[in-house]
Amino acid sequence: MSTLSLFQDIIRSPDEVKVVLDAALVTENLEDTQNRRVLAVVSHKDDWDLTEEGCLFICKYKVGASGGVDELDMQRVFPIYGQFSVVMRQMGRGPVNLRSDMVPKSVLQQPGAVIALSITPAEGFQDDSPLLTFFTHDVKGLGTLVSECRRLKEASDVDANAAIDLASSKTHFSWLKPYFEKNATIAALTSVPQDLRLINQPLLDRLSPSCAGLPGDDHADAQIIKDDWIRRKARTMCRVGKRKLKLRLGTFNVNGKMPSQDLSAWVQGNVNGLRSTKLEKETPELPPMMNISPLSLGEVISNPFNRIFPKKSSPHQTEWDVNQYAIRVDLDNPEDPDLLVLGFQELDLSTEALLYSTGTAREDAWCLAVLAALGEKAVNYEKLVSKQLVGMLLVIFVKKSLQSCFSNIRTCYAGAGILGVMGNKGGTAVRLTFTPPYDDSKSPITSPGSTSLTFVNAHLAAFDEMVDKRNSDFLDLSKRLSFDGFEPLRSSSPVSDTDAGDDRTVVEIPQTPAIGAPLPLSIYETDSLFWMLDLNYRVDVPDTSLRKMLRDEEWPNDTKIEALTRFDQLRKSIRDKKAFHGFKEMPIKHLPTYRFSPGLAMDAMGYDLKRKPAWTDRVLYMHDPLCRVEQLSYTSHPQITMSDHRPVSADFEVDMDIYDTAALNANARKLLNDMHELELENTSGREGLKIQDTYVDFEKISYGTSAERKLSVRNTSKSPCAFRFVPVQIDSPIHPEWLSVHPLTGILLPDEVITITLSVQIDKDIAAILNTRPKDLSATLILHTMMAKDHFISVSGEYQYTCFANKLARLTRLRGAIRAMQSPDDLLPETNAINAPREIMRLVNWMMAHNEHVDGMFLSPANDSQVHIIRECLDTGEAFPFKEQTPDPQIPIAFAATLIAFLNSLTESIIPATLHQRCLDMTNRDEAFELLDELSPAAVNVWISITAFLHFICQRSKEKDLAERIATVLAPVLLRDDSNSFVPPISPLRKKKFLLYFIS
């Protein structure tokens, strides 16, 4: 590929390459290809103010994603103005060779025929670097370069003595800014993955703020949309297969203990893991302890299989291997994790450990314990890498058969403890890349693409009230944990401990602004990222209530834990975007993992009385959308009791693309070329997109239904066209809450057609909003095409008011059927409100009047269309269309189901969450009735009429436990939890008990 096209790959399309020159640095060693440079003059014209500015870029060749030296890296940039000059002089004695087509290598071979050029930077760009002198053989190119520089210097209107700070300049040379930003080049082409925090943001959030008549930075936005489009498309085009990688992650705060128990439940994913979870449920008893000493472990490892298979097996196992060593296949179960990633905290609590390295004795002991826990499978695994900082140890074991697929292993650490740097708190991290084995002789891959995995083991500040400190520790670690920059060199040998060799290339020229340096890699610059940590986040529920709830045996663990984790500080910090924003965590199904007391000061469940139980040990993750990560399990292992924490494990499957990087790059370049015209400025007023229908009518929109309309949009122009939806006002939403639009951004090639889907789905939250608005729904969507036009799409619909999803106080002020309301404010005065919502009364009265068939009411599933008919009748006020004394037993069931759905849709609970705690204290029927005094009159009437009916059918029934069963269903409906409430929830069984005072 020519130097020009290589250079064009790293230049933004509005900027124009004037001349590209192959040259070499003048250094002692003229033969070294490391000294090859590309010099290029780039001009930027601003059509808006008719000015032109130029810059001289100096680039170096680097190893590209394909493995060859075929990419350019920007090294320096010199704005052309003021003092800037390029001086030529002849080098050596030989005659000047005017051939311009010689490759740099031949330049190196003919030192006699070269011209040297020296660059004098403009004011503010000089530094201590040696004279910027290069030599080149391309005399013609050099001539053009010098004259372009002269021309651009004259064109510049910058004060000759002005020193311009490129990083902050908002006027001159501000167009250079995108080059400083790390990801300015096409994302698909860089070997460094994009920051996960950025890539996981919806594309629209990454674009500049914009609204009707006020476009944002269309150029930059088009660039972002284009990058994203190319990134996805290029990868899809070259994908030849998928490979699943199984990971088992564990985190364990060992409280300074040495291993003294069998760790197999925690370490082993499958068989033992499953058995242990069963044990955990059936009996709180502990499995027999196994005393393991590091001495005896040695024998476990040197088991006979090692002698049979002294060599690493190849990742591409042939059939022959499998037959020959059938026994081995059994052991190397594909269901076993490929990687075992374990994070330990408080490995060593001694003061000495804080001050100096205490050797690897503890690490070795724990690694042996892990191998021992793997049992006979240990033979399949090998330690790949580990990284320790004081008490925090991150260690990764790999299946031997896959070991050669892992490379580029890097480690790093950051302290966040005492003084913000000491290692009693902080984190260690490992980054590695996995190149899936691929063996297909039909379509061989020459340069297989790889996927990077990053693991962080961290330990954050302790104590309940330190939430803010934990949040800031997290942000601090996010910044400070970074890996040394490196070129993508392949290393298949395992990397032992600490810092791997520094591959950072020596940059001869100090950087003016940081362009193209081997930048350190952030832990977020990866395809998948996992944090395993003792976060020390606690639960914001008072200590006594928390223990009471945990102990409550009548409350099933799953709903109890679900209710309690709503008060978890980590969940709250994520919700408030204060820490771990964008991370995912599987719902917790296990009991708190901290703090267990070995002594006397413990509660009935074994938790320390002085520390509030908490889920301190967690596993969180995030990943590139192109690299699917699925979590399969998340559990604690209470049978491992040696520490005050319980270990936690999580199984993951990472689904990776198998692709050829050379094909990826070729695709990306091709797509990039297709896209070149996208950013041409001279597109003013072009008619790019044609929208097939700009008026969309949803007609009648009613509760519980959904509707979809499709719009086809065609690019009728001859150039690619990027679009995005924009809001009417800068701070207003792009579309109303009752509507969803997909996609919100995109690119269309000439003649391409895209379908935009508009959909409406009225659930109870949307209905609660729409019930209080005028029924005419209309909105105008604005589809903005870059630098051209705002297209309007009118959307309309007529909302059908429903009695569902209202407040009781509003329902009692309706003049009649809600559907007949002309405006949402057409209500009775508060003083004239009726006693109870007539819709509930109609339901209860009907059920009371048709009480012959009560079998299955509230318990059996109902016919949806009958429920729908009943709801319509409630909304319209029409009589129920069912024959008196109907024989269809499904109808009473449908009425009961409608009542439940109605109560669930109410915007408030009949008994508000604030009163739930008091329901716990009621010990008899009379006390329970007294509590009703706290309710609003309408709620009391609803409660009394419903419970009276329930009482009636339960009394009459021959089934003894009918009241119990009905109460189980209705208690959580009548005493609904409020997810926004700060009041700790109560057990559903307590709710049931309260309801039973009224119906049994």
Binding site: D49, A212, G685, S794
Partner: protein, 208 residues
């Protein structure tokens, strides 16, 4: 040294009076006999040279005339430095509509906005329903610029935009770089300039 100014211009008026045709003639010197109704707002630019030293660049928003989209019009005339309100000389109702637009602009747009009333379709003068006298009288009363144009023949089109450029307060500093880092179509640059221009142009008003 040459100076360039940048202004935001919005076209308003009833549907089918020829707003888009007027812009197409001004920007590309073209005319389509059958143009589809504008649904949305198109963004175009054109530069007018006033003399050797001065150029004015218009950022033009050509809006939809249909009543359905009326509520969105304020988004496009906010921060506009000038507005061209177009009517069709063969439709007297369109002048009424123009008056409504002008009242709205006077009430809600930037007070320093320069408004031009423009009677289009001069090539159809034979079917004229709006007399020149009537329109001119109204424009004078309201202090508006006024002219008649034909987007079809091109008559009067460049002239009205040039006249607006001359009327705009060219006291603002050169537009060079005012927009900062690559502000795309530079709409925001126009806004800033406008504010400066407005304050610079205000003293006379204060003397009243």
């Amino acid at each position: 040294m040459s100076k360039q100014y940048q202004f935001k211009l919005v076209l308003l008026g009833e549907s089918a009076v020829g707003k888009s045709s007027l812009v197409l003639r001004f920007v590309k010197d073209q005319f389509d006999d059958y143009r589809e109704s504008t649904i949305g707002a198109a963004f175009l630019t054109q530069t007018v040279t006033l003399d050797d030293q001065t150029t004015v660049k218009f950022e033009i928003w050509d809006t939809a005339g249909q009543e359905r989209y009326k509520s969105l019009a304020p988004m496009y005339y906010r921060n506009a430095n000038c507005a061209v309100v177009v009517y069709d000389i063969t439709q007297s109702a369109s002048l009424e509509k123009a008056r409504t637009w002008i009242r709205e602009l006077q009430r809600q747009a930037d007070p320093s906005i320069v408004i031009a009333l423009c009677g289009n379709k001069l090539d159809l003068a034979a079917r004229r329903q709006v007399s020149q006298e009537e329109a001119k009288k109204y424009a004078d009363e309201e202090g508006l610029m006024w002219t008649e144009t034909s987007a079809k023949t091109g008559e009067g089109v460049t002239e009205i935009f040039t006249a607006i450029a001359q009327k705009l307060p060219l006291t603002a500093p050169s537009a060079t770089r005012a927009g900062g880092a690559r502000a795309g179509p530079g709409a925001r640059a126009g806004v800033d300039l406008n504010k400066q221009a407005a304050s610079a142009g205000q003293p006379e008003a204060c003397n009243c």
